[in-house]
Every structure is written in C-alpha cells, then in structure tokens.
C-alpha cells in the first residue's frame, strides 16, 4: 500500500480516469466540469478509487462524490472510522 497522502492519490487517480492534468482536477469546482467527465468515467473513477484504497463505498458515500474535495473528505472519514 502506498504511503502517499490521500489527496495526492485521489488526484492522480482522477487525472488518469478523466484524462486530464492534476491541476485541471484541482481547479474544477465539480467533477462534472472536467472535459473527460461522463457517467461511465464517473463509474470508472469510483472503481479505480476502490482499487487504489482497497475498500468499497456505500451508496450514501458515492452520492457525495461531486467535487474532488468531497471525495477526499469521504476517504479521510472512511479511513478514520
């Protein structure tokens, strides 16, 4: 398992799935603003996060996945629980 901070791992996963730079991900207010976003990419993003962090998300958690910040928050909260 990687020892990099959560935010860095989320950013690199997002930039891979949405095919854009990490800066673009950071700058986007919501994930839907990214040019590479569509419902399939969103699904792939969730799957890639699950593989990256080794747990799966509940429906409630997935509903919170609107911006990159909220994704990072959800993962932080999950790791603490």
């Amino acid at each position: 398992m990687s020892h990099k901070p959560v935010s860095e791992r989320v950013l690199s996963t997002a930039s891979g799935v949405f095919q854009c730079s990490q800066e673009a991900v950071k700058d986007a207010a919501t994930l839907q603003d990214l040019s590479g976003w569509d419902s399939i990419a969103h699904l792939n993003f969730i799957l890639a996060l699950e593989q990256e962090f080794g747990f799966s998300f509940t429906e409630e958690e997935m509903e919170l996945f609107t911006s990159i910040g909220s994704v990072i928050d959800v993962i932080h909260a999950k790791q603490l629980s």
Partner: protein, 626 residues
C-alpha cells in the same frame, strides 16, 4: 518489486525520454497491478513510449445486458501490451436481441471478428435470480428449456448472418441458493438448473461452427463467488461485478482474442536445472536432484505435467539449457521419476553457449519465427538476457516460488487453443522423431550407415478405394520432390486406375521412429515396349532417404514383368522442385530431349540396367506377391 517502484522508474524514464525503460516499467506496472488506473496510464502513454501494434485490426462487438464499459480500458491496455490492434464496439444497454435480429443493425456493418454475448443468469433465468420460487421441479425445467430455446434462436440468426466467432457465457449460480442446503439435495434446484442450462449450452455451441463457451461460472468460482459480485454497483450502475473481478473477465476474453487473432506460441523452450527438476545435476548428480513429491520435487513434477499437457495440445517442447550434455541426458533418459523423456523434445540445445543464440538456432531448426517461442527459465539473469537480445521471444516471468511455476505456464495466453486436431496431437511426436533421425545422421559416419540405422521398411501397393483420397491429396500438395507436379482430383485418380494401361501406386514407409503413413505416389502408363512415368513424388517428410529408389525399382520390375524394355519420364521444373532435379540422371537415365521451357524427357533401357531396390530398405507386403 512493487508497483510503486515500477511507477517511479516509469516516471523517471519518461522524463529522461528513455522509451525502452519506460515501456518495460509501464508493462510491469500493469502486469503486477492490473487495475483501471494503470490501464489508463498504459493507454495514455502507449504512443509516447512507442508500444507498436502489428497486423490487422481485430474487431470485437459486445452485445450486452449489463454495464461492460469499465472492462474496455482493461481490454485495450492488455491488447496494447500484446501488440494487438483491438477495436471494441459495445451494443446498447439490454438491446442485444434487437442488435442481432435487426438486419441493418450496427453489428453487421461493424463486421466484427469476435462477438461477446455479455449476459447473465439475471437476464436469461430471471426468475431464478429474482427469487420467485417455482413450485415444482417441472416449472424450473421449463424455465431452463425455454431460456435455452430463446438463446438458440438468437444464435441461429447470428450464425446465419455473420462469420464472427461467437462467445457465449456459462451462467453463474446465485451466491446463496434460495433453498439453503436443501438446494444441494434438489434435482431441480438453483445449482442443478444452472448446471443443466450450461450443459445444454455446451451442446449448442458444439453443434455450431465458431461458437465458443466462456466459462464465467468457473471464473467466478476460481475468484470467489462471494467477492465476485458487487450489489452496490449493480444497483447504482448495472455493473454486476466488483472492481477486482473485472480484470479476471478481461483476461479471459483476451485469451480468446489471442487464439482468434493467431497470437500463439508454437514452442515452449525450457531450462533444465531448477526448472524441470530441483537442484543442479552437474553438482548434485543424478541421485541428488529433486524429483520426488514430498522431497522437494513436487513443483518440478508439476512443471513436467504442464509440459505434457502442452505437448498433447500440439505445442512443441524444446530444451535450452547450460549444462554438460552427458549429465543432462542421463537425467532425461534414466531418472526414474522423470515424466518427460528425450522423445518429447522437438529441439535440444544443451551446451554452454549463449541462450539467445541457442533460441535462434531452435527457431531455425523448427522453421518457426522467434515470436512463436516461449522461454521458461528460473534464472532471472537468463530471462533478462533473452528479453534484451530477442524482444520477439515471449519470456515467461516466473514467480519466486517454484510451486507456482506450473500455474504461470498454464495461464500463459499464447498456449491457448480452441480446437486440437489429430494432426496437432501427432505434431509433437513427429518433430521429436525427426530430431532423432537428424541426430543419428550427425553421429553416424557414412551415409549408408545412416540409412541402415533407420531400419526403413517400405510397402508399395496399387490404389484402392481407401487410398484414393490420400493419393489425390499428395499430388495436390507435394511441391518439392515431385518430378512433374501434375495435380489430380480424387475422381481423376479413380478414373485412371480403372484404365488397363495405367498404374497408380502408393508408397507407405516406416522406420524405427514410427510409421510415416502413405508418403509417396507414382503413376505410370504401360504399353508393349515402354513404361512412361507420369508422376513420381515423395512427401517432404521422407526426402533424402533413398525411398524414391525403392519406388523406381518397383515400377521397373512391374514394367519388365509386362515385357516393357524402356522406362521413360519427364522432369518438369517448378520454383520448388529442385530436390527432384537429378532424379533421372542419378538413376542412369539418359536425356532424350530438352524443351525450351526447361522440361526434359529421360529414358532408361532396362535390358542394360535395372533400377535397384536399396538393400537398407526392407520390403513389406510387396505388390508383386499380392
């Protein structure tokens, strides 16, 4: 090494524009951790680091009743790493029936080589999955047979409209059966119903051409059925599988892509010490190496078992080992626990030369490209050397633990086959026999000794109903040792043999290594003075062993018996029949006539000289005594 290390190496190499290192690292990243993120990385950088695809586009259509999109990057990345030019198109969600039935469907204009039907028990046996209990076993049986009938109709339409290979999935059982342990007792419970369905599905596939089964049920079982599904994703996005199960499915589909696009290995070249047996025979001795289960030999015996399986599939075995040949051969010939013997190997290189060079020679000897060779060696340095020197060769990345060697070989997609013919099964044996013949040629001093050492036996007979097909086939296929290259159909052969003046002979040969079957044909026309040789040919399997002399002697005797004085025959040169060029002059014929197109007519006066049957070939079931 871990993914993180490969990732660092990759990033550094990318920054330094070292494409080769970047390529290797990217491949290792995806192979050690085949997840979506790494798949995206492969696809993103494929061009930049120079992954090349070769060959024509291989088109795959997926007709589906669930979300398959997350599989696509995994399939594409796997294809990219294998150098395959893969194009995938996916049908609408749950529109697979329309996709097939509508004659102007996208499916038929796309023109795929392979069609995947991505369906599940949920779609085909919904009542089983939706937990609507059938009151009677008869009800379940009906359910199964009507689902099968629907699928069968769909398949018939699909088969009649396109030539693509069609992949049908086996159905999986619900993770927990409706009836609990009672299901195990029921003749038409969940499990029994799915088993019945899958059995009929196999029969359905076997009855069609180009329809294959993907055993999703076995795949789920291997992976762990309880981990296979993710209800969350099913509810959210109609994706039935958990994230980690996706690669298992992608990998399985890729096996079919490999076979159907012809990306196959035909040879597996193996090391000996610590690969076929435990220990080093040069140091530990014949009695010191480990080949007994329970005494450190199980892993190596299992490797030998896998190799035997591949041998049965028609894949050639070869040895590429740094060893003293005497030590190694002692094990191969005499060690009581060995499952593999020298006769299993089509090519052998046991010496102290560079392995890359030895592999090149093996490829030459077997007349195959380097890209059809897979190389198995426990020593990472040797593997690396071959990787560097011969990038075309498929070097298997063996794990640390020898117990997992066999599994790694078994899972290698380039050994997959979708059919095994009798010829495939015989191929390995034939090559191994040929190698032994060549070896004898090398150790025997004179050519006559070589002929004698083969213990050849030849039988010649006249064409009958059983041999006509083979005779016609040989006239059509034989290019090298063929004096006139005249091609005949079965009907023509059949007509010739009914004419008084014509003789059609077959020749069958055996030697100490095995039976070669019918490998020669002669066709002659007899009149009062002359026997005209219309056709004389030998399969390339038996060229260079004087068998043609036996054939000629037989024809001559028969002609003399009928009172003929002369043997005559044409030699008609082609691009390929140089091996037969000197046949007539070597047997004492004189050239009567040479035409401008290079053909020549030859004659032998049998009162001056009779062609002689070689005394190292024994004659069996001879025609004259028949």
């Amino acid at each position: 090494m871990t993914e993180a290390v490969f990732n660092q190496t990759f990033q550094k190499a990318l920054a330094a524009e070292d494409k080769t290192t970047a390529r290797v690292a990217l491949r290792q990243m995806f192979e050690t951790t085949p997840n979506l993120t790494n798949a995206q990385l492969v696809l993103k950088y494929a061009n930049e680091v120079g992954f090349r695809t070769t060959g024509e586009e291989f088109k795959v259509a997926i007709l589906r009743a669930y979300t398959v999109e997350p599989l696509l990057p995994l399939l594409q990345a796997s294809a990219t790493l294998a150098g395959l030019n893969l194009r995938v198109q996916v049908g609408g969600f749950n529109t697979y029936v329309q996709d097939v039935l509508s004659p102007d469907s996208w499916l038929y204009s796309f023109g795929p080589q392979m069609i995947i039907l991505a369906l599940q028990g949920r779609d085909l046996l919904p009542r089983l999955w939706d937990r609507v209990t059938e009151s009677s076993s008869g009800g379940t049986e009906m359910l199964v047979s009507s689902a099968l009938a629907d699928l069968g109709n769909l398949l018939d339409v699909l088969r009649s409209r396109c030539n693509a290979s069609i992949l049908l999935p086996t159905l999986d059982v619900p993770v927990y059966p409706r009836a609990g342990i009672l299901d195990a007792q029921a003749l038409w419970g969940d499990r029994a119903a799915v088993d019945a369905f899958n059995r009929s599905l196999r029969e359905m596939a076997a009855a069609q051409t180009g329809v294959y089964i993907v055993d999703v049920e076995a795949l789920a079982g291997r992976f762990g059925r309880a981990r296979w599904y993710d209800d969350q994703k099913w509810n959210l996005a109609r994706l039935p599988f958990a994230a980690d199960a996706l690669m298992e499915i992608a990998r399985e589909y890729m096996r079919y892509v490999h076979v159907l696009s012809g990306r196959l290995c035909k040879v597996i070249a193996v090391d000996l010490d610590n690969t076929l047996w435990g220990g080093v025979v040069g140091e530990d001795g014949l009695d010191g190496i480990r080949l007994v289960s329970g005494h450190g030999g199980a892993a190596y015996l299992e490797v030998q078992r896998v190799l035997l399986d591949l041998y049965g599939r028609g894949i050639l075995l070869a040895i590429c080992s740094k060893n003293n040949i005497d030590d190694a051969m002692a094990v191969l010939e005499r060690h009581p626990s060995m499952l593999l013997r020298p006769t299993h190997f089509a090519a052998v290189r046991i010496n102290w030369e560079d392995k890359a060079q030895n592999l090149r020679e093996i490829a030459d000897e077997l007349n195959l490209g380097l890209d059809s060779i897979a190389f198995v060696d426990d020593n990472p340095a040797e593997r690396d050397r071959v990787l560097q020197e011969l990038p075309e060769v498929h070097v298997l990345d063996l794990p640390e633990n020898p117990l997992h060697y066999a599994q790694t070989i078994r899972q290698f997609p380039y050994f997959e086959r979708l059919a095994v013919s009798t010829e495939d099964r015989e191929r390995s044996r034939y090559y191994a026999e040929e190698r032994q013949r060549r070896e004898i040629r090398r150790v025997t001093t004179s050519i006559e000794d070589f002929y004698r050492s083969l213990d050849m036996e030849v039988e010649i007979g006249e064409a009958d109903s059983k041999s006509i097909a083979r005779i016609a086939q040989l006239t059509q296929k034989t290019n090298q040792f063929n004096l006139t290259s005249r091609r005949y159909s079965e009907q023509e052969i059949s007509a010739l043999r009914q004419q008084m003046q014509w003789r059609v002979y077959w020749l069958r040969s055996r030697d100490r290594f095995g039976d070669n079957g019918i490998v020669g044909v002669a066709i002659a026309k007899l009149d009062a003075t002359t026997c005209l040789i219309d056709t004389l040919l030998l399969s390339c399997r038996v060229i260079g062993r004087t068998i043609e002399a036996a054939m000629l002697a037989e024809i001559a005797e028969e002609a003399r018996g009928h009172g003929a004085r002369f043997l005559r025959g044409y030699f008609i040169p082609t691009a390929k029949n140089a091996p037969a060029k000197d046949f007539y002059s070597l047997h004492g014929f004189t050239c009567e006539e040479a035409t401008s197109d290079g053909a020549s007519l030859w004659r032998l006066d049998m009162t001056e000289m009779m062609p002689k049957w070689p005394d190292w070939i024994s004659r069996s079931g001879a025609l004259r005594t028949a």
